[in-house]
Symmetry: C2
């Protein structure tokens, strides 16, 4: 039975971290909201699953997956659940909680990216909070991009395998690839200095991009472009220099 | 060997979710930064662990724990790691990823609480961002408190055991207790209507409070009061009515 992924159609968003895992493993999955309504899928199916009438353990928000009758919520939790099933965790058991901790920190970074365009009110448009968004994005570029990427670069550089943690490709590498893609889309000026400062991370991203199944996926119509309905949005007024040299 | 908890001294903060787990289980732990500097602990020990010189898998930020030579970061990850060791997870294996998903959503709520007083710039004071904080707190009270607590109430009410998930006390119950305590401290007016709307959650919190080891802990000097250096801060200008009746 294929896995079922429930996520908003339109942007790659948080769902993309889960799609990359399925695609890297060549696993069968249904991207429910992007399948035809006429086949019983699409937005109505997503909304029904989200409402979860009568389900004692409903999801809070997309993305979530269903594996049989079990609903698993939250990107990092989904990846941890899928990891051993898709062979995308460190083979060494003791490194698995470390990998999960790294993924959770990447998810925090993604939440911070979201709040650069929605610093005040998640139910209103970006246009309704443009001024505070500028200030939040400035602090994000100054402090948070260098702090986060500097941290992951340190971890990746210390690992000798060419992957972030452990000896083989894991979901953490896939997520680092996606975060670098998203940051380059949303903050091209801030990210200008990133490859020189984070060579290990960019080497990992290149390896992910060349992974045969990922390369095929990226060339397929299943891969969605970033756009201004997602987490990573290109608003030139939020971009600018990053604080590479001030950060610790 | 006792577990070691690394967290900022001063506020209960995110470290408290981990302390409650240790305390409920009667586990031995060292709260490193709160122990005497003269014994080799205190802030210098926390800063050394955070710097993690030569450690290929350093933490990103407190809280983290050490269990032997392993460092585990991120509240939900720490609780998941400790859970089976402290008998604070559902006995039924298949419910454990569900419990972890609930904990991750509670951690998201905690991050949202932080951003009510720091919506723009985490490196500056609350006073430097008071006006956007008012707007963010208003949206938080209107939409997010009812959405989050309504969700957890639905989950808790559907479970027949008197606990949030599974048949016995888990770390999720401890965290719900702490979140309700924190919200009552930070937003007393917004939370005025919460007990009537979330009876199952308040019943769980009461059961946690009466748990013999937790009751002893709450009466001890180890339990720290909320204050304005933590996540949950009492700034009356950020409090006000909550959107109980508008939320879905």
């Amino acid at each position: 039975m294929p896995f079922e992924l429930y996520y908003w159609p339109g942007p790659p968003g948080r769902g993309e971290f889960v799609r990359l895992a399925f695609e890297a493993a060549g696993a069968e999955y249904l991207d429910i909201a992007r399948l035809p309504k006429s086949d019983g899928y699409g937005m109505p199916a997503l909304m029904r699953a989200l409402e979860a009438k009568g389900d004692p353990l409903p999801p809070f928000a997309p993305p979530f997956i269903k594996d049989g009758d079990l609903t698993i919520s939250q990107v990092a939790n989904i990846l941890q659940y899928l990891g051993p099933r898709l062979n995308l965790v460190p083979r060494e058991e003791r490194l698995r909680p470390v990998a999960h901790g790294l993924q959770l920190t990447l998810c925090d970074l993604v939440a911070e990216v979201h709040d650069t365009h929605h610093p005040i009110d998640w139910s209103r448009t970006y246009e309704a909070q443009k001024e505070p968004a500028k200030a939040r994005a400035e602090a994000f570029r100054r402090d948070r991009i260098p702090k986060h990427l500097g941290y992951f670069e340190r971890v990746a550089a210390a690992n000798q395998s060419g992957w972030t943690v452990g000896a083989s490709l894991t979901y953490v590498d896939l997520s680092i690839f996606q975060v670098l893609e998203g940051l380059a889309y949303a903050f091209p000026r801030a990210m200008d200095g990133a490859p020189g400062r984070c060579p290990s991370l960019y080497a990992i991203a290149a390896r992910v991009r060349e992974h045969p199944r990922i390369a095929a996926y990226l060339a397929s119509p299943r891969r969605q472009a970033f756009n201004e309905t997602g987490i990573f949005r290109r608003y030139p007024e939020l971009d600018g220099s990053a604080g590479w040299d001030e950060a610790g």
